[in-house]
Amino acid sequence: MLKFIARRLGTGAVLLFAVCTLAYFLLYLGSNTIARSILGVQATKADIARFNHMHGLDKSFLESYWGWFTHAVRFDFGSPWTFAQPVTEIVRMRLGTTLILVTSSLTIAAIVSVILGVTAALRGGWIDRIVQFLGLLGFAIPNFLVAFALVIVFAVQHKVFNAVGWTPPGTDFGEFVKSAALPIGALAFTSLASITQQIRGAVRDSLQNDYVRTLRTRGLSYNRVVFKHVLRNAAGPALSILGLQFVGMLGGIVIIEQIFAIPGLGSFGVLATSQKDIPAVMGLVTVTAIIVIVVNLVIDLLSAALNPKVRLA
């Protein structure tokens, strides 16, 4: 087991390196316009030259990348060009914010969709059809519209929750709830659709297995076979689904953060990328790649725990 983890972390490190190099390369390609867009319309040619020199943009790609890399391995990601805090601090703060949003939404969505998906798969019939329809609805309605509808009803018309802004749970829990309720609602609703569908599929697949019938022949009731055996075997695929959804949510949260003016990793990504703030973007790329690698590892470990057939080779 430890060998497995070590191996995965090893390949993960190589992967991380490949991703960072590729990202840096892409950013570097378009770096001749960065100074102008950051300094704005007022900047003179001298200003631009000074900016480029100060930030190593007049060096070659390898020189420039080596500079970043040698610092990055010591966890020094430098100062961004368009943010006031150091990269590691911004990433830490915003990652925390985004993770809170994503994990809360995913938990809520997971609970509801497991209930709905399992019911739909087991009962079939009209319940199944309604669940599928609702699922499609959540899938088809863009999350910003859901967010907007929530804001209209719960923030503008009835001032229950906040329309914008973010308060960390540590600072003031009441305010946190007010600022997090609507974004979490929007996120959860849209991912509910996808997860429900897939869990329904996973449960149905599990139901098709031969041993389901064989266990019935032993006198076990339908309910018992389902709850002990079918669901247990569907748990592995369900977990993979949730893992994928987690990574996917990290992308979908970008729009939500924009709408609610939440200082998370998503809005950080948009700002940093649109301004091509290389230190900031590289910090983001690194952190995102690490998250993906870690989540995949965790999912694999959990799947192995659930499924004896999976050998951690």
Binding site: A140, L215, R218, V270, S274, K309
Partner: protein
Amino acid sequence: MSTIETPRLALRDRNLALKLLTNPLGAFSTFMVTLFTFAAVFANQLAPYDPTKSDYTLMRATPSWQHLMGTDDLGRDIFSRMIFGARFTLTGALLAVSIAAVIGCTLGLLAGYFGGFLDTFGNWFSNILQALPGLIVLLAAASVLGNGLYLAMGIFGVLLAPAFYRLVYVTVRAVRNELYVDAARVSGLGDFKIITRHVLGVVRAPIIIQAGIIASIAIAIQAGLQFLGFGDVESISWGALLMDGYSKIWEQPIRLVWPAVGLALLMVSLVLFATILRDELERVGARVRKSTKKSLDEHVKERELAPAIVHPEPDRHGEELVKISKLEIGYLQVGGKYKVVVHDSNLSINKGEVVGLVGESGSGKTQTALALLGLLPAGGTILDGSITFDGIELKTLASKEYDKLRGARISYIPQEPMSNLDPSFTIGSQLVEPMRMVLGLGKEEARARAIDLLDKVGLPDPEKTYSSYPHEVSGGQAQRVLIAGALSCDPDLIIADEPTTALDVTIQAEILDVLREMQKATGVAILLVTHNFGVVADLCDRVAVMQYGRIVESGAIIDIFDHPQHPYTQELLGSILDENGPARGAYVAPAGK
């Protein structure tokens, strides 16, 4: 997946289109997708106005007969823009999906089939793409290469390739290890032919659904990019219209409605279309309507004219345990009709008897067995006749009562050992669980009994097997476990469904020995379903022969062997190789080769 086939008409036999259209959701989604595609292709003819033509006198007009959806900030007709938008949106999605599919599927196919270097490369390629933040790649590319919609969708397609890659890779890997691929190889079929003929067919269904889902995602991403200000605003896509509407939401909310509804319908339809296609292709998901008396009367029957041959059995003794009379089993088809798989069949089993039920594949023997258990697959019903077990009528038995019968009084040994054990639980726990539920045994008691059973069925190391997982034992061992399981609650009747078919010949003999010994020791009745007369001769007291879903002859074993009367029985017996017959001669090559 189930190893027992439910009789559904093969895909080739029925028009796929017909299947899609008769399902209401399928009809809806097909219609929508067609409508949008039509609009996209014939936009030039359908749109009432040039979508780029501005009319400054009529800016931000509300919907009217001249402008069905009103006009935008520049006085351009929104309806026309929606129609042209369909084109851009659909082609963009198509582009993304095509590129993703081509790259992902090709790589997955090659990597899964050939393995080795391609496998490693594919894996790395896929991992890197997945770990890369898509947004950054898109934006970086945009800054270097411009903001075009098609470029963005193309790049996005590359980023999405892993979704197809993994899917195809896993499927191909699984198929590659199937026996029929090896068989094809041995028979000299080239790799390319194998891939296209055998592997692609399996992979087809998952790819289709994935394509539908990916297309939907691509469309959503395009709208999202537009929202963040990174989209190509010159092109008229629904994403662009959506964002225009959203930014004007306080002024003219209706402008948001058109593209939102359009996008919603399109995405829903794509996913529905793909899902239903998958369901139909995989023959999963029969939505069975509860049968009513009316439909029973309408079912189609296949009748054979000659009555079944029942040999007299004067030496038969024992109390009657099972009586099957005029049994008719059918499966509900789309359209309300039933496909009848068993009809007009009679059989009886006495306590302690070993009865063989013989017939070819598809003759209905397994169906009969399952009917006895009350576990017909979805869609199956007993249409007519009766089954009694120890006087209890099984056809109408309530499910709770039936649960009580199963395990305790009737049990089952399935055909395929590995797929009939739950891979997530140890063998021991699967044995113990029913014993505790049905017999009410305590934990230690049940464990002791299980190990004892495992020993009795001839497993060399019962304790080790007890704590093993199903995938850690061989096929033969697993079958013994299943026999042990069937015996565990002391049933009156065991239904053994081709218990040795899936095993090696030497193991077959051993398993039959186990069965024989257990039967002698416990006096349990056995219904042995098989296509192998040799097995029948080995174990059975009586035998019934099934052909085309009907028991055509039944009697004591020696009687049937010596004096078969039904032509089919004679045919079956005749095709057994005769030990005492002449040896086959040397092989003579046909002339000219």
